[in-house]
């Protein structure tokens, strides 16, 4: 058997219906061994349902789920080789931290000392040494989260399922836990499947992300792939900020193609990024940071356009400028790094400014 190339988790054409409501539509995802995989989407997109189907808490209406080559069709949750970290952490309130972590070891019939040793190893791993005898209600949110992780990892699962594990933490702690979670995943080498609505979290942590909306998978790719090469308008709009322009393919040459774009006029992109035929209407997407802003006409820039400053927004590390250009109703967003503390605060509204960009700044999408 070709075990090495086979995906650890294979979700094949899975549907999920709750009565008349279809929560999951024909979803197929392969998750490789050792991967940090995220299911990303707004609330109600079906990502948690899908995770619960992996854990066995929801049945599969159609299609099948394979884990390590085994069909999970008739396998109840307590016999599946995966473990879950619940959104509420579900720390057992009547047990100590040690008994929480050792909860799943009962069937292994280990001597008590060996069990305690294993718990101590896990406590070291989650950086809570000496917490074994604490009661669950003496723990902070971040500590509960770690105990929930340890309780699942001690089972040596083939995959760890995490349901919005950082959602209840404040921003600082969340960012710290993101780094720790990533380091933990690399050190234990277990496949992680994370559900999150936080795109930054997904981008930071994941090897691969499946973006979901309305029960369907929109795109599965690496974080950079999703960000730089979104497959469609939904993904482009969901991950990060994006400017959209309507355009038309005029002529496709061997290297470069000419397009006519609203507000920007004549634009050249590499032919290789265009799949549409000549005269097709397309949607061009460009990230705000791919635009360069200048107060004077840029010299030697291949592509530029002038506009007037509409508003600015100060975002700490970044500054966002909204620029009106002729032939387009919505302002174009441009973001710049605040590299200097003394930035010209007072580019007055309505001032004429120039935008320029590189040929590879655009992503060309179907105009749907």
């Amino acid at each position: 058997m070709n075990q090495q190339t086979e995906a650890l988790i294979s979700i094949q054409n899975v549907d999920k219906r709750f009565g008349t409501f279809q929560a999951i539509h024909d979803v197929s995802i392969d998750i490789q061994r050792g991967e940090f995989f995220s299911l990303l989407g707004a609330s109600g997109c079906g990502k948690t349902t899908l995770l619960r189907m992996l854990a066995g808490f929801e049945s599969v209406s159609a299609g099948r789920i394979m884990i390590d080559g085994q069909s999970m069709a008739d396998v109840p949750p307590h016999h599946r080789p995966v473990n879950m970290v619940f959104q509420s952490y579900a720390i057992f309130p009547h047990l100590t931290v040690r008994d929480n972590i050792a909860y799943g070891l009962r069937k292994q019939r280990l001597p008590r000392l060996r069990r305690y040793e294993m718990v101590e190893e896990m406590l070291d791993l989650i950086k809570l040494p000496g917490y074994g005898t604490r009661r669950a209600n003496e723990l902070s949110g971040g500590q509960r989260q770690r105990v929930a992780l340890a309780r699942a990892l001690i089972m040596r699962p083939k995959a760890l399922l995490l349901d919005e594990p950082l959602g209840a933490l404040d921003k600082q702690l969340r960012e710290q836990m993101q780094l720790e979670l990533r380091a933990l995943q690399k050190s234990v080498g277990v496949t992680f499947v994370l559900v999150t609505h936080d795109q930054e979290e997904a981008l930071t942590l994941s090897d691969k992300i499946a973006v979901m909306a309305a029960g369907r998978v929109l795109q599965i790719d690496t974080p950079a792939g999703l960000y730089e090469n979104p497959a469609n308008r939904e993904v482009a709009g969901f991950i990060g900020n994006m400017n959209f322009f309507i355009g038309k393919v005029i002529k496709t040459g061997p290297v470069m193609a000419d397009l006519q774009v609203e507000g920007l006029g004549h634009v050249q992109v590499e032919t290789s990024v265009i799949r549409q035929p000549q005269n097709a209407r397309v949607l061009l997407a460009m990230r705000p940071e791919k635009l360069t802003l200048s107060l004077d006409p840029p010299e030697g820039a291949l592509n530029s356009v002038s506009g007037t400053l509409h508003t600015t927004a100060y975002l700490g590390g970044l500054r966002q400028f909204y620029v009106m250009i002729d032939g387009r109703a919505d302002p174009v967003a441009v973001s710049t790094q605040n590299q200097r503390r003394a930035m010209p605060q007072d580019i007055e509204q309505g001032r004429k400014i120039w935008l320029s960009w590189h040929n590879d700044a655009f992503v060309v999408l179907e105009n749907t």
Partner: protein, 274 residues
């Protein structure tokens, strides 16, 4: 203007009302212990001298202990059976989104509002139709009907306040339904179970109507008291007995509510500390 709005201000009228309310409820009760320590035979003021005689007189009576034994046996059986039934009922109502769980709950709670005498008569007719002889078993049956609503009302909030993911986490960690119940569900709802046991025992211990209709010749303590009221000379002793029952009931109910509350504040809903 005084501190704060009228909402948080102390209100004199309301205080007086509360005081009258308490007097109305507890003053009659208060008469019983007062006269149980009074050496006079009749319940009338002024009080005569203080005495424990009526209490000591109780000790010499064989039937008091027989009735007490009956009451305790019935009380224990009723509290255990009612609580076991209520655990399953409360779990089913709180967990399974069964259609019509509202009406089902209504039916279960009905004995709270149906007059006891009607239930008593109904059960009596049923028993005689079925040819079941009246005994402590039939009293037990009647008391379970009376106690179930209380047991369910005590246990239901526990199961409803119980984070479902606790049981899912247990299943996820490899435990089947049976072990999940014993290792997770039962310990978490245990305070509710204890509260329900105490509550049901007290209700059964004090219950009269069912015992009267269904008891046949086997007297429980309240029936014994009722029987003795015919004899004026026994009255002070019955006051003494009532005082003891009253005190025991207070202790049990207080314990039940207290234990029920401890559990509620420490265990439910996987407290998300922020």
């Amino acid at each position: 203007m005084k501190e704060g709005s009228y909402i948080s201000q102390p209100n004199r009228t309301l205080r007086i009302y509360a005081l009258l309310f308490m007097l109305f409820i507890y003053l009659p009760l208060f008469i019983i212990p007062v006269f149980s320590f009074n050496s006079g035979l009749y319940v009338k003021f002024p009080l005569e001298s203080f005495t424990f005689d009526w209490y000591f007189a109780l000790l010499d009576r064989e039937p008091v202990f027989a009735a007490l034994g009956n009451s305790v046996r019935v009380g224990l059986t009723v509290s255990i059976l009612s609580t076991v039934i209520a655990v399953f009922a409360a779990k089913a109502i709180a967990r399974n989104r069964l259609p019509g769980s509202g009406p089902i709950l209504g039916v279960i709670m009905l004995p709270l509002v149906v007059p006891g005498i009607i239930f008593g008569v109904a059960l009596l007719i049923l028993m005689s139709r079925l040819g079941v002889p009246l005994s402590l078993y039939t009293v037990t049956l009647g008391h379970i009907v009376v106690c179930l609503p209380f047991a369910i009302a005590t246990l239901l909030p526990r199961f409803e306040g119980f984070d479902l993911s606790m049981e899912e986490a247990s299943a996820d960690l490899g435990e089947n339904g049976w072990f999940t119940f014993w290792r997770i569900t039962f310990p978490i709802v245990a305070p509710g179970i204890v509260a329900s046991l105490l509550m049901c025992f007290t209700i059964s211990f004090d219950e009269f109507i069912m015992a009267f209709f269904l008891g046949g010749t086997n007297a429980t303590l309240p029936m014994y008291i009722w029987g003795q009221l015919r004899f004026p000379t026994q009255f002070p002793s019955m006051l003494a007995l009532s005082t003891l029952i009253l005190a025991a009931s207070f202790v049990f109910i207080f314990l039940g509510l207290w234990i029920g509350r401890i559990g509620m504040t420490t265990t439910t809903k996987g407290e998300m500390s922020k």
